[in-house]
């Protein structure tokens, strides 16, 4: 974890509480159904019929908005009560809230269909506080401990299982270099590279050819990082135009490559540079920058990236 400031003393059981968001054991169905039935009762509604889905994605076909008679639909009334409950809560540090919302948000983004109003169950740990003494909030806390996402509707409630696996990097972002970062019992999952959602080929079979055809810059960056710059350059058959010592970065070289012309992209070249500082494993990370095709010398290209001429950039004294 690369915290900028040393972390404040956290309430010790908060991190234990938040770990519910990452649980991968099967849902405790009786506990979840009991808590949800009580939340229905608080709205003056009878217990719903329960439909269990093996993943949030598998819940989609079961979702129909509640019919709207004269009153607000059930899920809207549920949301009103939940909003009142969460407005009073401030004990969970903002960065912890954000971290768990990011994880849930990345899974949400993998489902193209609208989901209507729903809650995250285990991942509502980001706003539900344990042991609050408030009986209504305790019902939400029971759901954090017992199930995945859930969709309350008139007469029926769809509840999703927890994932089988959730994998993160050491900065706690969703990440797996070998398979989906999140996978559910029905096999549905989400691939992620250091917190960026990517198509499965980026993780399972990144090739230079696929990278060159990909339009999304972020996806391309992740795929190249996974494949490795050297392998990418070799596979793509990039031709080296020129190389020069990197000023301020002793022993390292700047290399300029010709990039194949791409439809709908301005002509560009690739500047390959090496980080000024070492990684945890003792290596230095390479990174590629796309630069305008007008540059023939790596120093001019590197200078442009900082708004400088090559001659000005050559005066660099140190790079960290």
């Amino acid at each position: 974890m690369s915290a900028s400031r040393r972390p404040d003393r956290r309430i010790p059981d908060i991190s234990r509480w938040l770990s519910h968001a990452f649980r991968t054991d099967p849902a405790d169905r009786p506990a979840a159904e009991t808590a949800i039935s009580r939340l229905y009762a608080l709205l003056g509604e009878p217990p719903p019929r329960f439909v269990w889905a093996p993943s949030p994605n598998a819940a989609v076909p079961h979702l129909r908005p509640s019919p709207v008679p004269s009153t607000l639909p059930l899920e809207a009334r549920m949301a009103t009560r939940a909003a009142e409950l969460r407005a009073r809560r401030r004990r969970i540090p903002p960065e912890e809230r954000q971290w768990i919302r990011d994880v849930a948000g990345l899974v949400r983004a993998a489902i193209p269909q609208p989901l209507g109003l729903y809650w995250y169950g285990q991942q509502d740990a980001y706003w539900v506080e344990p042991d609050s003494g408030d009986p209504e909030l305790e019902l939400w806390a029971a759901l954090v401990r017992s199930c995945g996402w859930w969709w309350p509707r008139e007469g029926v409630c769809v509840v999703a299982e927890r994932p089988l696996a959730i994998r993160t990097d050491d900065e706690r972002r969703l990440h797996s270099a070998t398979g989906p970062a999140v996978v559910y019992p029905d096999g549905w999952g989400v691939h992620a590279w250091h917190g960026t959602r990517v198509p499965s080929w980026v993780i399972e079979d990144p090739t230079a050819d696929r990278i060159n055809r990909e339009f999304n810059v972020e996806v391309r960056r992740c795929a190249v990082e996974h494949l490795g710059w050297s392998a990418y350059i070799e596979q793509a058959g990039l031709r080296i135009l020129s190389r020069a010592p990197d000023p301020g970065n002793p022993g390292c070289e700047l290399r300029l490559y010709d990039l194949p012309a791409q439809k709908w992209h301005a002509p560009s070249r690739l500047l390959l540079a090496v980080n000024g500082s070492v990684e945890r494993d003792g290596t230095r990370r390479r990174y590629g920058l796309r630069v305008p095709a007008e540059f023939d010398h790596p120093l001019d290209a590197a200078g442009w990236s900082y708004g400088l001429t090559g001659a000005q950039y050559a005066g660099l004294r140190r790079r960290t």
Binding site: S2, Q98, G276, R280, Y306, G307, L316, R319
Partner: protein, 140 residues
């Protein structure tokens, strides 16, 4: 100044694998830290007017993509005044400062570096955007 001592004084932290017993060099000239570069203010072509004192706890210049990994500027109290977003024809400048004693630029992954007394400005790095759009800023 050792890295360990600097971190102690500022309350900032860097990744564990960086050597804390190295002396942090103070550089009088162009230097880069990841996606930032520190340049003599003379290159900007004009001098900003609305300076303010760099606060004791320092100032984050820019944060990385995932919200962490900030570059933070710190100095002894009363030795540095700064301004943010100075006008720059290249549209890359994010801060300018004048210092009478070394100031320090600290980053969790890149470690720390010292900047000699003088007048400086800081630019971000860019690369070509997708398609024919304007260049994008790098965030490492």
């Amino acid at each position: 100044m050792f890295l360990a001592e600097l971190l102690d004084r500022t309350g900032l932290d860097v990744l564990d694998h960086l050597d804390r017993q190295v002396t942090v060099p103070v550089i009088d000239g162009l230097q880069a830290q990841g996606d930032l570069i520190v340049l003599p203010l003379g290159l900007l072509g004009w001098v900003p007017r609305d300076w303010w004192a760099l606060p004791a706890e320092g100032r984050e210049l820019v944060r990385g993509e995932a919200g962490n990994n900030p570059h933070t500027l710190v100095a002894d109290r009363g030795t540095c005044r700064m301004t943010t977003w100075p006008a720059d024809p290249e549209r890359l400048a994010i801060a300018a400062f004048e210092n009478t004693a070394p100031v320090w630029l600290i980053h969790p992954e890149h470690g720390a570096t010292g900047i000699a007394p003088g007048a400086w400005f800081v630019r971000r790095q860019r690369e070509l955007g997708a398609g024919f759009r304007k260049p994008v800023l790098i965030a490492d």
